[in-house]
């Protein structure tokens, strides 16, 4: 990301803040991590955050991610405990319709017997859907509240990102978790030998082994990377456009914001759905018999 020394002086919507700085600020995270001198603490500037390298936690997106995923699951559990087999009330009906939607997708896309796939798909779908939906909240609301609050905790110009899926760490974290499951179920169902032979002796037989590996290993690795980056890319692009609209137009953003939000409403559930379906498909392939 570009250097922006201007961030250190005032980020209010003043004359000294350019659109670029505005967007830059909105795209950075509230970071907690290890400073180069070894002590742990919040980063106060984008530069500080960058210097932390890997040993940094994006507190804002992590908090929203946990809040949304955990909140949804707790809500589901709360509804589920009260659920009856009689005529369901409105909320129960709503949750059941999501449940049945996911369940039927799993039954269509997953040919093997594994009762853990459907809950996985439900978790992924609902979680990503909610994280994506945060993109529809006007871009300055929650960061504005956070910035106001940040003043009291010694965080001037606090960055606060509210859309977890615009953080590649979040999307790749999920997609590589799925990748771990792919490898786990591949080995569980095909054996280590079966899994490796699929990489080595497919598609051209054992005499072309190096060539097969050259094809199959990138194919395997491409799954989680494409899975995570697709979600990230779609949401990042959407968020960026919201920011551009907000940054360039200020108060006059409303109609444009609205129009883009309407388009974006399509992207939000679609990307959650795509992530879920691809997870099902990948895990289905991991359960398929080796001779395939």
């Amino acid at each position: 990301m570009a250097e922006s020394a201007g961030l250190e002086h005032g980020l209010e919507h003043g004359a000294e803040q350019t659109v670029q700085e505005y967007i830059q600020h909105h795209l950075s995270y509230l970071t907690f991590g290890r400073h180069p001198d070894g002590h742990w603490g919040f980063a106060h500037t984008i530069e500080e955050a960058k210097e932390m390298g890997f040993m940094a936690l994006h507190v804002d997106v992590m908090a929203w991610s946990l809040l949304l995923g955990g909140g949804a699951l707790l809500f589901f559990r709360y509804i589920g405990r009260k659920a009856t087999a009689d005529v369901p009330n409105g909320v129960q009906n709503f949750v059941e319709s999501i449940f049945e939607f996911v369940d039927s997708r799993v039954q269509e896309g997953f040919d093997h017997k594994n009762p853990t796939i459907a809950p996985l798909a439900l978790t992924i779908f609902v979680w990503i859907l909610l994280m994506n939906t945060m993109d529809l909240v006007p871009v300055d609301w929650l960061p504005g509240v956070a910035a106001w609050f940040g003043v009291f905790v010694g965080q001037e110009h606090m960055s606060f990102k509210v859309v977890p899926t615009t953080d590649p760490n979040v999307t790749l974290g999920m997609s590589f978790s799925v990748f771990i499951l792919i490898i786990y179920y591949s080995i569980k169902n095909k054996g280590v030998g079966g899994f490796l032979s699929e990489l080595a002796f497919h598609p051209f037989g054992k005499w072309m082994l190096p060539f097969n590996l050259l094809i199959e290993i990138p194919t395997l690795l491409a799954k989680p990377i494409s899975l995570g980056l697709r979600l990230f890319g779609n949401l990042y692009a959407g968020e960026l456009l919201f920011l551009v609209i907000a940054g360039l137009l200020g108060l006059y953003q409303l109609p444009f914001h609205f129009i883009w939000a309407v388009f974006h409403i399509l992207v939000v559930p679609l990307q959650a759905f795509v992530f879920m379906m691809l997870t099902i498909v990948y895990l289905n392939a991991a359960h398929d018999s080796p001779q395939h």
């Binding site: 936690l57 659920a83 953080d167 974290g173």
Partner: protein, 156 residues
């Protein structure tokens, strides 16, 4: 695109949420939906059975209605027969009664005639004697002429 600890945090959250969903959330709804499916199946079954029962009942009711109609017809017929019989009997009785009354009347008339005849006879005898006495200007010994008077009366 800086990869940070966040990716680890998100992965941990992923597995925790998966576990939570699988153990704490999914079974609740799976059970409820299964139960409802069963209930609906039972309900449909019961409805089918009820419909079958209804058809049976309808068939039975039409059968019974038909039987009842036949029975009613029979009853009406027998009642008609009985009525006719009663009327016949009554007619017969009435005729007999009439005959009896007529016969009684005849007998009474006969009796009345006989009594009248007896009276007449009596009176004829008296008149005859009175006449004879007038003619003979003397009394006639009734006892002496008893036989002749009786003969006269018998001729009447």
């Amino acid at each position: 695109m800086d990869i940070t600890l966040t990716i680890v945090g998100q992965s941990i959250a992923f597995f925790v949420f998966w576990w939570f969903c699988q153990t704490k959330v999914w079974p609740l709804f799976a059970n409820v939906l299964d139960e409802r499916k069963k209930k609906i199946a039972e309900g449909l079954d019961a409805a089918n059975r009820a419909q079958k029962d209804l058809q049976l009942a309808q068939a039975r009711s039409t059968e019974q209605l038909k039987e009842a109609k036949v029975e009613a017809a029979e009853i009406i017929e027998s009642a008609n027969r009985r009525a006719a019989q009663i009327v016949d009997e009554a007619k017969e009785q009435a005729r007999e009664e009439g005959k009896r009354i007529i016969a009684g009347a005849h007998a009474e008339i006969e009796q009345e005639i006989n009594r009248a005849r007896e009276d007449l006879r009596e009176q004829v005898a008296s008149i005859a004697i009175a006449g004879a006495e007038k003619i003979l200007e003397r009394s006639v010994d009734r006892a002496a002429n008893e036989e002749m008077l009786n003969k006269l009366a018998a001729e009447l």
